[in-house]
Symmetry: C2
Subunit: 340 residues, 2 copies
């Protein structure tokens, strides 16, 4: 099954509607419309059917996944019944998932080996001991077609072509054998990066933050795990129509199952959480010696997951930047503050 | 004003109710109860008043803040009208804020200087050039009184006594002069840490993640900024009744206004976002050479913000840990995977 969200403008503003289809087919079905018709078939009044459908199939994918089997039943029914008046042709899709939390791993060896060289560091042993990650901001997610903002404080905007792992049901202290049962499916992830500020702030050993938090893109669909072959998916990045990257998801130092299992140790993974694989080998501009400009069109493609296409916006607004603190001979500052 | 949430068990399970009081007074008022009475006074039917009050004053503080002035009006009315039948005495408080996103800065000089020494690194210049941060998981937040889980993979659990900055209204590219107008108020934050795994994973230069994501604690109240003096708040940590830390919030290399302004560059801070100050000077066990054990009782206190008290749970469950990947003479591995 593939799950997506259609963005619709109506009298109440913009809202999203959850759609499903069989992987490999064209026709989408509107899950809330199907749930309303099903409720009518099962004796609900028109007003009751509408209320029930709105609750079972909210606009937020994370909110839908938080309903457990009730939502999955509605999605499966929409597909199975395939009611003609719930079919949607050529929908404008937005991000399938509005994540409730987001962390990004770094499991592609060529990419992380390059990344450490880029920071003038050796590859740390820990990269081969456990899956290492950082967390991002779940509030800054965009979908296909959305312009990617170019922050005023960067001159070096970059894409990162990644695999996104969507958690479907809660899990704690999972083993790799149990982990995949908690994964709803996979989606494309563009962990947009501002390389200049990222390199500066990462000398502090934390994050990154300002190099990442301004935007992240997912979509256009979530393909459920039962439709994903285990021998790897082909991956491509095109910029203005030219292929800049061609690789496979088969080259991960840590598997999807191991990533999910490790993420779940000592904490509860929740429905709607998004885990990124880290950049595929060759899947950003720094490692291929290219640069991006405002107006460039990105197309990130993964077999079975579609194409995630966005255009880079023009930088707008002027940024405030902190002034470095004055420091004494011992390297510390006495210029200390509280609120102001 | 102080804002808090009361946790109540009812026939529908556990839910939270938003309370307000004047800073420095005892009596709390239930904002949803007040909104229902106000709606009745303004001509609503009993059922309509109840529906309106539930919408204006949800259980989630982030959802309430997302309503803008409509929620603030309801909170102010609850306080001003001070209706006797909306008063709540001795409520059991949980985390005032269920954050929608969380990032933690590191602006206390003695703490971060110790932290880098602890990692055998010099203090990087960037710490005096801009406020450096990492993001945490907004889904793992606990409140006062909740047991702090002890993950099975750590032997070195620690608290971090911090100031939490609660964003009240959206803002982008703010200057420090504008920033405080977007802050609802301050709360106590315990950025719970598993030091052994944190030290290991941070050799990868990302995060931290598993050293942090399993738990974070805030509360018991949010005190609005107009009730906070600018000359610093006294801060104390007690463990099993013994004072382990006594310091002030006045010693920040970057001010609250600068932290918020920098966080807002190139991105939109949203209501319900939580920004942490980083650990106050001396505000964790590593820098004072102490250790914690299961069952220890923590009391983190900040003037005007109350006391955040929790007990450390006993480790339960057995953790799965990844096996290190075999590597060849060039340091890389050929043991690569996709799903499994």
């Amino acid at each position: 099954m593939q799950i997506a969200r259609q963005r619709l403008e109506g009298p109440d503003g913009i809202s999203e509607r959850i759609l499903v289809r069989e992987t490999g087919t064209e026709a989408w079905f509107d899950v809330r419309a199907a749930a309303r018709l099903r409720a009518l078939e099962r004796g609900a009044t028109p007003a009751g059917a509408r209320r029930l459908a709105e609750t079972l199939v909210p606009s937020s994918m994370s909110a839908a996944l938080s309903l457990g089997q009730a939502f999955h039943d509605a999605a499966q029914d929409a597909l199975t019944a395939a009611r003609e008046d719930t079919a949607v042709s050529d929908p404008v899709l937005t991000n399938a998932l509005d994540p409730t939390s987001y962390r990004d791993f770094m499991v592609f060896q060529e990419h992380f080996s390059f990344g450490y060289r880029w920071q003038n560091k050796p590859v740390p042993d820990v990269m081969y001991e456990l899956p290492v990650s950082y967390a991002g901001d779940p509030l800054s997610f965009l979908g296909p077609g959305d312009p990617i903002p170019w922050p005023p404080y960067t001159e070096r905007l970059d894409y990162e072509l990644e695999l996104g792992i969507v958690i479907g049901k809660p899990g704690t202290n999972l083993t790799p054998d149990q982990a995949l049962d908690h994964v709803l499916g996979l989606t494309i992830l563009n962990d947009v990066s501002a390389r200049d500020i990222q390199a500066r702030e990462m000398t502090g050993g934390l994050g990154p933050s300002k190099g990442k938090h301004f935007a992240c893109v997912t979509g256009p669909v979530i393909t459920t795990l039962d439709d994903i072959p285990d021998d790897g998916l082909s991956v491509r990045a095109r910029v203005n129509g030219e292929t800049w990257c061609e690789t496979t998801t088969a080259e991960m130092v840590w598997s999807v199952a191991e990533i999910v299992a490790w993420a779940s140790q000592g904490e509860t993974l929740r429905p709607g959480a998004l885990l990124g694989s880290g950049t595929c080998n060759g899947g950003s501009t720094i490692e291929i010696g290219r640069t991006l400009s405002p107006g460039d069109r990105l197309e990130l493609e993964i077999d079975k997951l579609g194409v995630l296409a966005n255009t880079l916006a023009t930088p707008t607004g002027s940024a405030w930047e902190p002034k470095p603190r004055p420091r004494g001979a011992d390297g510390t500052t006495t210029d200390l503050h509280f609120l102001r």
